[in-house]
């Protein structure tokens, strides 16, 4: 057995907790989860059945924790796990799963399937069975500070543009600010309008905030790869940045997996609770609106629909907020047939979009979203995750669909009530 395989198996062993035991001993292999998975429904390939993706961990559990496995190994009949047991699953787990968690919503015995898939990813990443694209992105995140290789210089250049366009100052490294904002790589490289919107909205609402030159990057390639120690390292940077500036709150950008990494998994990755609160930008905007600090004017007449980012809505609990915000600025908002906690993923989550090998499959999976969007007859598609947004744009383009893809935060910024000149 190679050293790497042993490391992978050891990692998997460490992942076997009470949940895994409850889940594997209650699964009856009914296969209902397949019907919830867009990689299965769009390909009819049974290997994309969510619970099948957890097979490496299940096998290990069966071999080493179940009665029959223990009996077999006592009799010398057990078959040791081999490289193939892990290698064959690399494609299923990294290309054929966007960690959207829809399967976890439908399991009749309540197995959190995508939770186990994350554990499998952890094992595979340690055994060296991860896609090149994702490994590269993670490496860049560790070395340079961003999976897309973005440096502070790039950010500073963007800030200059934003300040010129808005005539407002972008606060940098302000100690004791209430909020510290973070950006995802996509928001720096592709959607500078996000930062522009933040500046306008916070100016409008009178929010004390800052960016940090040590910690501006919110994405976490470690989470997508499943490598918990790298994920912890990346979270620690943000925690250090926030502690240095002594902020009370850290704002997660729209980006879905960044929110999961910061808000929910981060404290567990680094092994301690934060001295600050993590709030998603949509949560903050909704709070400001409720406090009366954020006032909007005018409504879009275009037919709008909302794509729920899985990590923010189904696995993040931010369901009502985007609808409150959209309701304020749109007079013609329609829901997709399956929305909210049971939305369909765009296909690009869980690191799939950073994994070039998975490109074709991602576009196949997008067919689900395509038919959903078309059924609404919407003219514009709003979302609140930069990763969803690029995936949706890609899908819209390659399917030659005529629909605009918008970010929710910038739509709010475009509808801010003019303040009476003071």
């Amino acid at each position: 057995m190679s050293e790497q395989l042993e490391r992978g198996l050891e990692t998997l062993r460490g992942e076997i907790d009470n949940k895994v035991k409850a889940f594997f001993s209650s699964c009856v292999r009914c296969g209902i989860c397949a019907e919830a998975c867009l990689f299965y429904t769009e390909t009819s390939d049974p290997r994309y059945t969510p619970i099948y993706k957890t097979e490496p961990l299940r096998k290990l559990w069966e071999n080493e924790y179940s009665f029959w496995g223990k009996l077999k190994s006592a009799l010398g009949m057990s078959q040791a796990m081999t490289e193939a047991d892990l290698a064959d699953w690399e494609e299923l787990v990294y290309d054929g799963c966007s960690m959207c968690g829809r399967c976890s919503m439908v399991c009749p015995v309540g197995v959190d399937i995508s939770g186990i898939i994350f554990k499998v990813k952890h094992g595979l990443s340690q055994a060296g069975f991860s896609p090149e694209g994702l490994v590269g992105a993670t490496q860049r995140a560790v070395d340079i500070g961003s999976p897309m290789g973005i440096t502070l210089t790039t950010v500073q250049a963007m800030i200059k543009h934003v300040e010129a366009d808005t005539g407002l100052k972008v606060p940098m490294d302000v100690e004791g600010a209430d909020y510290m904002a973070l950006l995802s790589s996509n928001e720096i490289a592709l959607y500078p309008e996000y930062l522009e919107s933040l500046v306008k909205i916070f100016d409008h609402a009178g929010v004390s905030w800052t960016l940090s030159s040590d910690a501006f990057e919110a994405t976490n390639a470690g989470l997508q790869l499943g490598d918990k120690s790298i994920a912890g390292q990346l979270v620690q940077r943000v925690v250090d940045g926030a502690e240095k500036l002594k902020v009370k709150n850290v704002i997660s950008p729209e980006c879905g997996h960044a929110y999961t990494a910061l808000r929910w998994e981060g404290p567990n990755f680094i092994g301690k609770a934060y001295p600050f609160r993590v709030v998603h930008i949509l949560e903050l905007l909704d709070e400001l609106k409720a406090e009366g600090r954020l006032k909007t004017s005018g409504q879009e007449s275009e037919r709008l629909t909302f794509h729920d980012p899985c990590s923010i809505v189904r696995r993040g609990g931010i369901n009502a907020q985007p609808r409150n915000l959209l309701g304020a600025i749109s007079g013609n908002f329609v829901e997709m047939a399956d929305h909210g906690n049971m939305n369909w993923c765009c296909g690009g989550g869980g690191g799939v979009s950073s994994n070039e090998r998975a490109h074709e499959l991602k576009l196949t999976a997008f067919n689900k979203k395509k038919s959903q969007i078309e059924a609404t007859g919407a003219e514009a598609l709003v979302t609140a995750c930069s990763n969803c947004r690029t995936t949706l744009e890609e899908g819209v383009e390659s399917n030659e669909m005529e629909i605009e893809v918008l970010g929710l935060t910038e739509m709010i910024a475009a509808h801010l009530e003019e303040r009476p000149a003071s």
């Binding site: 390909t43 009819s44 390939d45 049974p46 290997r47 064959d88």
Partner: protein, 373 residues
Amino acid sequence: MLSLVLTLAFGLQLSSADASNIPPQKPNVPDGVSALNPGSDLWREVRRRDGVGEFNEVNQGVLVKDLLSEIQRSRQVPQGISQVNQVDSGVMINAKGRRWAAFRMTTLASYSGIALAAIFVIIITFYVVRGKVPIEGGLSGNMVKRFTDYERITHWTLAVVFLLLAITGLILLLGRPLLIPLFGKEAFALLASASKEGHNLFGPLFLVSLIMMLISFARRNIYEKGDLTWLLKGGGLIGKGHASGGFFNMGEKTWYWMVILIGLVISISGLILVSPNFGQGRLIMELMHIVHAVSAMILIVVSVGHMYLGSIGSEGALEGMKTGYVDINWADAHHDRWGKHCHEEDLIVSAEEYARMQGQPADSAEPAMEQGK
């Protein structure tokens, strides 16, 4: 099956023990009474007491016809009343039941046994002579979807229930001549009691699966224009070449309607037999039993042929009911009109695609070409 075998094993184990446990019973005759044959005269009298006229030991007519006319008569002729406070209270001793019983144990059992043996002989002979009917040019590996999951589950549910009923039914019918000599009476008593309970319990499920079958397959089994040619060509089993057919060919359609119609007859007669509390008397029960047994035997015998043709008799046929997909060459050969439709509508999936949908990783996909040239 497993359970029946277990039952039998238990019966064999226990029969010796049970027999030794029961103390020999003393005949219940008071002292001083001549026990030679006190009741024979009485018995003779009683047999005439059902008010339906003379008891005729040697009945010349056909049993079913007799039963029908007697059911008719029993409604008209005023009857005496026995202690039985229910239907058939006019019958003290059902002397005519002996004729039915004799029919069941001799005629019905022997003809059924012969029919069953015959169909196996015919099929084995056919297989030896004709062998597996091959597909010209072999299988291509490219597949078309024929049945949905739901349709296949419906088929197999009906099949499983049918088999359970057939096996338990045959044990009840043929057990006495065939199984008692093999296992002895005690073991057979267990097996028969078990079979009877099992048979009664699974009966209604047969009707349910039959209705499911009716709903999901009826439309495609309506006879249409080209079906006659299929008949004229002998269904492709006789002579060279396959006969023309649509989604289902005429043979399949006929089998389907046999299953539905005979199945309904079996179900209804079975329900009448299993629930004796709706006012039906012994005569009706006897009649229903004959209907039940004869129609079931027909279905069992023909089903053996169906199983043969659906599996080892015809290359590529079982695949359709297993995976829901059939080889396009099979479709072209057996159901050319449907096959043509599949070509036109571009419904064919490649061997790789098919393997993928069956859950085999892409690199291990090999088209089923072993029979091809």
